[in-house]
Subunit: 131 residues, 4 copies
DNA sequence: GTGGTCTAGACCACG
DNA sequence: GTGGTCTAGACCACC
């Protein structure tokens, strides 16, 4: 498993790991019940500290994306769609609003934003009906 | 000028100030050349540290949203559309991708996202076709 | 003998085995002098590592719940009420205190807790007055 | 603020910190909006590592018991009763069942358990109607 | 072998 | 000053 980690980015390393694993799951590259590399393994591959990987895995487990079994390893969860919380909706809505404003200032057109959205959904699309 | 500041939020206070002023500009509530409250005025109103407001104003000026004229005060810029940087585009694109993935996990439908987007652009108005 | 083992639980597998066997004894499903399945039998049934079952049996024997007779097998003890240690009392008292606090935060009412307690003692039956 | 931390206990240090702060809140010793010692302060007092305190604080915040404000400090939350989750109820119920079984083996009488329960609720009791 | 916990000490962002 | 992040390296419980 290869992740693109940028130590110079402002986003924390563990956050980058979380995001990329979630992306790989959403795109179907990682399948339910698949085994993830161990904390030590991944940390060695990514050249980051085991604690950082561990923190990422812990948070992913809290979100229900993966399951850690002590002494066995870490696995992709079977059912990773969480129940919809109003707070989560609000959070996403706010982030989207901020994104629109930032796009406005960066000169990114409305149409561009919509086409990007379509692209991303195409990458994910229809993966949830195979088991 | 009234801003909604939440000290308990994870977003830094100065970031909240920046976002909200940019939003007020984008929605046309604040017009070009309009005078903003002084740093100490705004900090008194919002019950936050003057340093925090100062930092927000500094960043807004750096982005070209506002201009400070020494001894006169702070004003909304006339031309607040910055030139489009590839890096900015990339940044927005990445944030959008992450938003799609988070929506996926939060159970927010594609259609919901699109309708929210439409709503936000409606609030701003057809101002993205003037330069 | 059927146990409900969940490999994904945070409670260690051997702990789950211990708890469930103790429960079966307390509820009278397993009677004194009854023969338990062998380590390899149980591990095969439960799809877990023999070492795990072995560790559970060892701990159960240490607690006096079961007895292993070399070459014959493992049996439920006749007299499984241990003498009361102050340390044990303290431990249970502390766990109960923590349970009350957790209930408080989880919104579980005092009355609910009491009724659950009654239920559990009913399942065990009035066996706490024989020694 | 004084906590009783036992480095030799099997319960992790951060878990002990969590439990004791929750207890102090439930008993009304710590009031809403009260400021907690800083991570460094508490770690110095308790002779444990700042990271350990930090981990405890982070978990307490996730549970909604406290609120950390970056650069300001950590405070007791105003409304610390979470909504009741079926999973939480189930968890507490199971722990209670296990406690009953352990009491049975430790020779702790049903009446003793009930009287302890009453005691603990008396310590907490009636604290939630003052504001 | 696995993940979980803890320590020591560092740097950064925030107010 | 605050909390958040990261690294280095250690020990333990579990399987």
């Amino acid at each position: 498993m290869l992740l693109n980690i940028d130590p110079k980015s402002v986003t924390p390393l563990y956050e980058q790991v979380i995001q990329q694993i979630k992306e790989l799951c959403a795109r179907g590259v990682l399948s339910p019940n698949e085994k993830l590399p161990s904390v030590r393994e991944l940390s060695a591959q990514m050249l980051i500290n085991p604690n950082t990987v561990s923190k990422a895995y812990r948070e992913l487990e809290r979100q229900g994306v993966i399951v850690s079994i002590h002494g066995r390893g870490t696995f992709i969860s079977e059912d990773f769609i969480s129940e919809q919380t109003p707070a989560q909706r609000e959070k996403i809505k706010n982030e989207l609003k901020q994104l629109v404003i930032d796009s406005y200032y960066a000169g990114v057109q409305k149409e561009t934003l919509f086409s990007w959205l379509e692209d991303f959904y195409e990458e994910i699309g229809g993966e949830d009906d195979e088991s």
